[in-house]
Amino acid sequence: MVTWTTSHATPPGVREPNTLAIVEFDLDGSPVRALGQCTTDDVAVGDTVEPVYVPELRDPDAGIRERESQRWDGYRFRPVE
């Protein structure tokens, strides 16, 4: 985990609080970054995480963007020992 934040003022359809992190994976020797929600608020820089699939990361009908304009599933990051 490179960095993280917990957002306490979230837009419509987004869980509150919403802990987000930028993580860096090693992909065939090259670092690849991803940004996403965390499964817990108890995170720290340097944590090792694994992806956990979530079918709907926010309520697609509550925000300004049209439901059909994009996908809403994805992965949350879960710290591992």
């Binding site: 490179v2 934040t5 957002s7 306490h8 869980r15 970054r33 820089v45 300004i64 996908r71």
Partner: protein, 425 residues
Amino acid sequence: MTRFGVRDGWVMDLLAEAGGDCIADTGIGPDDIEHLYVSNMASGEFEGQTGVPNALAHDLGAIPAYTQRVDQTSSSGAAGIYAAWQSVASGASDLTLLVGGEKMTHRTTGQATDVIASLTHPAEYKHGVTLPSFAGLTARHYLDRYDAPREALGHVAVKNHRNGVDNPNAQFRKEITLETALSSPMVADPLRLYDFCPVTDGAAALAMVPAEHAHSYADTFARVTGIAGATDTHVVHERADPTHMGAVAESGREAFGMSGHDHADVDVVELHDMFTILELMQLEALGFEEPGEAWEAAMDGRTARDGELPVNTSGGLKSKGHPLGASGVAQVVEVYGQLLDEAGDRQVDADVGLTCNVGGFGNCVTTTGLEASARAMPGPGTPTGPRWTPHPTPEGPPPPPPPPSARTGANPSRRSTSRHRRRRW
């Protein structure tokens, strides 16, 4: 410019107020306007009002001027300045009016945040990523990487609130203490309420003419000496260094190169402090400070109004407010006032100024260099001043340069100091 804050009027009311005031100040006739640009991010999303350039031309009586809306999210204002400058520099227009404005406060904070967050990449939006959450992620990384104290960000907020007290158009005109900033409610950990700009209504306007015509409209004026824009990745977390604003650096390099000025020439700066961390990152990306060292400038007062390089004398977005499409225009209005000794109680000693307006989280940027007319050479792109010459004489000799102001003359040592202050770039 209009007063920024919670306003009763809708976007067209605000645009017409700022545009009308600018027309009155410069003494131009509405039907003399050849191009009319409107900087606005989201009037359709916020209040269902589209077609704002045509509507504003109608309201101002600027028919049949060419009109165009400029949307570059939070940097719409400076993108409008770039468009207006291009219209004059290209010869397409001899008199361009730029009006930037936004009406936001009728929406809840969550709704306004979502409108702004809609600029994010789908991979970010679906996670509920907002601009404030980008700021929290980046601030934590910056503080950790450079071993900077959290208090440094609080000092930015305290400074800009202090400056806003003396700006009659600012949304917040009250000082805050460092303790207040550091104990305010958490918004995006580690950033708290006073690290963020407010949701704001407001508008600002500028008139631009070729420099060789400027004396027909004003005895004193400011000249655009350099202007450039740049773009960074749409996916913010793909950037190699999260603490480096690449588009700020690129636009700054180009604007400095065009202007012929270097950093030591710059006397006053308006930066896009939508979040306190952004003021530090822009100081570094523009080359005023080394990477990882701008927090020291915030803590030791170098960017205060009486410091080596006054930053955000207007109060910045932080205190003055951030009506999206208006902000970049209002930055230049502030520097214009500083260069012409019209900044009132917040006046500093300035002949050369710079503004940096940021869209997204550094996604789109425009940097503008400005110079007071007393030192200006003829060139395109000139915001005109409010002191209209009643009998325009385009071919006549320009008036003599104004005498040294009492401020400059009274304290020549400060000028000398600022010219030789330490700069690292």
